[in-house]
């Protein structure tokens, strides 16, 4: 018998998907995943997705970039090769700020993007959910709720009936 990624139920509207998700959570399911054409408010909380660490990562990245740039400038202009430029001091702090600022913004953004991709498991070109029949509509008007098979509460026989109880459009199993 083939390994199972999970069991999906398709809904027509985000509201009904939201209700279904809530119901499953009440039933004690923890490993849920939803696929919707556009973000649905509150869904993340219902599914118990931990809040993102992206902001912290970006702050760290920005700070690091800024300090790094300042360090390079200070080292090169004061220690490594101090040169008299227009009679200005070697450590011309005000002149060092702009580059540092720009690099801070760049660093933050880069870290943010990386964090976002890592946090949302991208890039990943091949994924079981793509095998779901009609999944291509997930980016248009279809709303899918998936109970992952590794959910401790998940049980081969009962899950399908429990999903049916949420009166979705369809119910199906998703091979891994």
């Amino acid at each position: 018998m083939t390994r199972i990624y999970g069991y999906m139920a398709q809904f027509d509207r985000p509201e009904s998907l939201l209700q279904a998700a809530r119901a499953l959570r009440n039933l004690g399911y923890t490993r849920l995943e939803a696929h919707t054409p556009y973000p649905v408010e509150g869904l993340a909380e219902v599914l118990g997705i931990p809040p993102s660490r992206i902001p912290r990562v970006m702050f760290a990245g920005g700070l690091l970039a800024a300090l790094g740039t300042l360090a390079i400038q200070y080292y090169s202009a004061v220690f490594n090769y101090p040169i008299n430029v227009g009679g200005r001091p070697d450590a011309s702090w005000p002149a060092f700020i702009p580059a540092a600022l720009e690099m801070a913004l760049l660093g933050a953004s880069l870290c943010g993007v990386v964090a976002m991709l890592r946090g949302s498991g991208l890039p990943r070109l091949h994924h079981p959910v793509f095998d779901i029949e009609g999944f291509d509509r997930a980016t248009r008007d279809a709303h899918f709720l998936v109970v992952l098979s590794d959910d401790p509460r998940c049980d081969e026989d009962s899950i399908v009936t429990e999903l049916r109880a949420l009166n979705p459009l369809r119910v199906g199993r998703v091979p891994a």
């Binding site: 995943e33 939803a34 696929h35 919707t36 054409p37 556009y38 973000p39 649905v40 869904l43 993340a44 599914l47 997705i49 993102s52 992206i54 902001p55 970006m58 390079i72 090169s76 202009a77 490594n80 090769y81 430029v85 227009g86 200005r88 011309s92 002149a95 060092f96 702009p98 580059a99 600022l101 720009e102 690099m103 913004l105 760049l106 933050a108 953004s109 880069l110 943010g112 993007v113 964090a115 976002m116 991709l117 946090g119 949302s120 498991g121 991208l122 890039p123 990943r124 070109l125 091949h126 994924h127 959910v129 793509f130 999944f135 291509d136 509509r137 997930a138 980016t139 248009r140 008007d141």
Partner: protein, 434 residues
């Protein structure tokens, strides 16, 4: 068929029509011209332009500032409007961001080609080298180098990130293997997961928050390229805000031009509505007034400073050999926009188009005026001189315009010109309303 699907099929079926074909042909022709220009430039040197001593900067720098300025509006529109939760942003942000990316890329060409020895441009970057040398950190040109690089990267990321869900959507609707692979690779395997949506939204918010200060800082750096100099007319503390205002001004003008073009050509009246144009026009007026205010400030400061050189320069801008550039600038950037006070004018597409084209042109003229009038007469009368453009100056100006539109037309053809998922979201929430 929903608005989103219309946009989607535009990208997928690619029936762009004859108008697009002609425009693209023209754009490509101009791009080729630019290519020829670049080859000749590298072969013979920047001397093919009209620049000289004292006017060692002219067209190329004006072009550069002009383009980077237009590159400001896109990010600003989508970021600022996003932060202020402006619903009408949806219709604009995608093509505006595209405009940004292409404008910045084009502008990036000029500072490099403008060098006497372009092949050494990388000396501006700090990297370990066998000369044991470093960049000179006190030069505003260096700050600008960092600013442009940062801004180009961030705006590309910002643009691409916003595209992800739509790329996935196109992937899912694609019928041929080729398009599936193309969009599939770009979509990175986006599954529209709740988790992905959550991370996606957090990052969008964060980037939007960064983009606004970035826009301001980047164009302030551009302004410092001039105001770090001690030339009368350049050495002025109001340059950064003045330049930022000018950037948004020309940016919004360009956005308006494109909006009107897309709307009428692709029949997107339902997406880019009259309300959008009206709002854009209001912003245009607002930024325009700020620019006008800075013009006044410049003159005021010149006389208030009682600095001989500043006063002479200001009078010279009014009456000197290049006075006409000043008055053309004033007419385009201050005069023409006064029409926008009247709702009826804002509702009139022809008027809007004319005004915004005038502004786009006027802002180029402003940069030319600022650069040349300050240079051609500085301190010692003995070294005063004139600037006369050569045909190559125009080749690079129009060539760059061609390159920009070539890129933009390709974008229209292969990518959704309006954010599809946001359209869906908003249409859904509209359904919910009684």
């Amino acid at each position: 068929m929903s608005a989103a699907d219309i946009v989607g099929s535009l990208a997928l079926e690619r029936r762009m029509g004859r108008g697009w074909a002609i425009a693209f042909a023209v754009a490509v022709a101009l791009t080729v011209l630019l290519g020829v220009g670049i080859i000749v430039l590298l072969d013979r040197g920047v001397g093919i332009w009209g620049i000289d001593v004292p006017v060692a900067w002219a067209f190329a720098i004006a072009d550069y500032v002009w383009w980077i300025a237009m590159g400001m509006a896109g990010t600003f529109i989508s970021a600022a409007l996003y932060l202020t939760r402006q619903g009408w942003r949806t219709a604009l942000n995608r093509y505006a961001e595209a405009m940004t990316v292409f404008a910045v890329s084009v502008s990036g060409l000029f500072p490099i080609l403008h060098l006497g020895r372009p092949w050494f441009f990388y000396w501006l970057a700090p990297y370990p080298n066998r000369m044991a040398l470093w960049p000179q950190w006190r030069s505003s040109l260096l700050w600008d180098f960092f600013a442009i690089s940062a801004y180009l990267l961030v705006s590309i990321l910002y643009f691409y990130l916003g595209l992800l869900p739509d790329l996935a959507a196109l992937r899912d609707r694609a019928t041929t293997r080729g398009t599936q692979l193309f969009y599939g690779l770009l979509a990175l395997g986006w599954r529209a997961e709740a988790r992905q949506w959550d991370r996606f939204q957090t990052l969008s918010a964060m980037l939007a928050g960064l983009a606004v200060p970035l826009v301001f800082s980047v164009h302030s750096m551009v302004a410092l390229d001039f105001s770090e100099g001690l030339l009368p007319g350049w050495h002025s503390t109001i340059f950064p805000p003045f330049f930022v205002a000018g950037a948004l001004f020309s940016g919004f003008a360009m956005a308006l031009v494109l909006a009107i073009a897309l709307r009428s050509y692709f029949g997107l009246g339902s997406v880019i509505t009259g309300r959008h144009l009206d709002n854009l026009a209001k912003v245009l007026l607002a930024t325009g007034l700020f620019v006008a205010y800075s013009y006044v400030c410049e003159v005021f400061f010149a006389f208030y400073s009682s600095d001989q050189h500043e006063i002479r320069l200001t009078l010279n801008r009014f009456q000197g050999s290049y006075a006409w550039t000043y008055w053309v600038t004033a007419f385009c950037n201050v005069g023409s926009i006064q029409l926008l006070w009247f709702p009826r004018m804002r509702a009139n597409v022809v008027v809007l188009l004319t005004v915004s084209i005038l502004v786009v042109f006027g802002m180029w003229m402003e940069r030319f005026m600022l650069i040349v009038t300050s240079l051609y007469r500085d301190f010692l009368p003995s070294s005063w001189g004139m600037f006369y453009p050569t045909r190559w100056d125009f080749v690079f100006l129009f060539g760059s315009i061609g390159l920009f539109f070539a890129l933009f037309l390709l974008f229209l053809r292969y990518l959704p010109m309006v954010s599809m998922f946001e359209l869906r979201k908003s249409s859904h929430s509209e359904h919910r309303r009684p």
